[in-house]
Amino acid sequence: MADILIAAILTIITAATPLVYAALGEMITEKSGVLNLGVEGMILVGAVAGFATIHSTGSAALAIFAGLAAGALLASVFALLVLGFQATQVATGLALTIFGIGVSALVGQDLVGIAYDGLPKISIPLLSSIPVIGPLLFQHDILVYGSFALVFLVAWFLKNTRPGLVLRAVGNSHDAAHAIGYPVIRIRYMAILFGGAMAGLAGAYLSLAYSPLWIENMSAGRGWIALALVVFATWRPWRVFFGAYLFGGITIFQLHAQAFGVGVPAQIMSMLPYLATIVVLVIISRDINKIKLNAPMCIGKPFHPTA
């Protein structure tokens, strides 16, 4: 019984990890006052870049870096448009997703049907042999460990560091931050790039570890779920992490329910993560004060330094 439970939790971790990356990255972007709806597109280019690299070089490290870089590269297009050219954030984000879907399909057309063994698992000596806890926490691939580290880092960065404070200030009042002399545009640039890099890592995890292959549109809406998670978490890192695991759990639950042959068509079960997103969004948005209290106040507003 314990074995089954451990196996189930392990699959939940794999389903949650890409969401952790994408949602934490987007959270940092939003904390700086920018709403980037292009997460889905950035995940896809990260996924295809990662898979193409592992296929041509065989190096997992390079592949992970390629995913990260591809996500950041696409994000830099977004940053240039919304920060440099004052383009609407909502429309530009949508364009990013449409473009990302197209470009990843174009690049990946020769990669369809190729398989990869998946990222190697790294067992931490001694710790990994502890019963139950060992397999759950200390026998993962590098990106899963990275996602654990990321949530600590992001939480610490926002709460305890000066740059974290500046980031929040820029997101809450860009005019005040600008008046004090902080480089609002440059800080937002970096926040957007970070968000893109993390979405790229989420993509790399999908194509290198979660289901190690490339399929067109393989993110299947995870970018949008990540966006909803940020709202659900009211822009707090630990809640993002918790939310990602909740959704990972729902995804795995529906897969298992299908395998056990619940008397419901598979497609109905597959609707669960999307429906859950809606329900969760409704529950959290119901209290308008809660959102107002936590949302970065400048989110979505363009900034043009006049003086």
Binding site: Q86, V103, G221, A228, Q267, V282
Partner: protein, 359 residues
Amino acid sequence: MFVSLVKRPERSQWMVYLSPVIALAMTLVSGIILFQLMGVESGKALYAFFVEPITHKYGWAELGVKATPLILIGVALSVGFRANVWNIGAEGQLTLGAICGGGVALFFYGVDSVFVLPLMMVGGILGGMMWAAIPAFLRTRFNANEILTSLMLTYVATLLLSVLVHGPWRDPDGFNFPESRIFSDSATLPVIWAGTRLHLGWIITIAVVAAVWVLMSKTIVGFQVKVVGQAPLAGRHAGFSVNRVIWFSLLLGGAMAGLAGLFEVSGPIGQLLPVISPGYGFTAIIVAFVGRLHPVGVFFAGLLLALSYLGGESAQITMNLPLAVTGVFQGMLLFFLLACDVLIAYQFRLNMTRGAKYG
């Protein structure tokens, strides 16, 4: 900095219309570069993409066939975008329209009556409206972001269609293929240009464009939509209900997307399939923006984006290029458009000289 952005004293009306043209030119230039990178002869590829499809009568008709859903949805979405209502789940509303309208067709299978087709259209419209009503309700009642809810419902809608054509609505004589029966003649849209696939939906689309034009420029509803979008505070003082505008925008978008979905299944496709749209609902967002959120603009933008679909198919056949090139072109067009739109409210100025330079 050498070049800086300076706010114009007034929005440039010129740039509103020039910006899509510049964007298109830049997309073409980028296309040439892209084709070079792919090792394809770019002249030939661009010809296959943008010219070859419309060198014959059938191609012009196909342009109308592809433009029908794009314009129909784009013109409705542009109303919502003006009001800052971001319905990006039109693809799902299209699917629900196809399900409900197609459901009517299957229910009356074999019935030969002139009433079947109008009933199907009503079904399509209601289906799309129903699907769009969910985000409208969740937004107005619970303040839930309509971008995310309408998009999530798109995934749900696609899965729902899949359930139906794999299960209860599967053609009993169809050798277990996931397809519905082929609609009877009374449930198929009449072709308006003999020898092509151009159907009645094209005429209805043009009528809708005209109707939305009148709605937006001549009626109080259109005025409310614009005020709520541009100056929510002024709208509130004038007593305009934001919630009503949200409901109106989403229901209109849903209705037209649903109708477009019904047109697809009772026109070019003729039955229900697991996939009925190559992303028309998403491309319509680009159509709305390229068309400057104006009905007439949307009409021409719809034709342009329809050409990108035809071009993708043509380039796939004649030059063996991947179909995904279409999406890349569409994305680039929107990128460049958004970048060029900066010139509506701003102008570039060289810091060295005093003269303004238009980029």
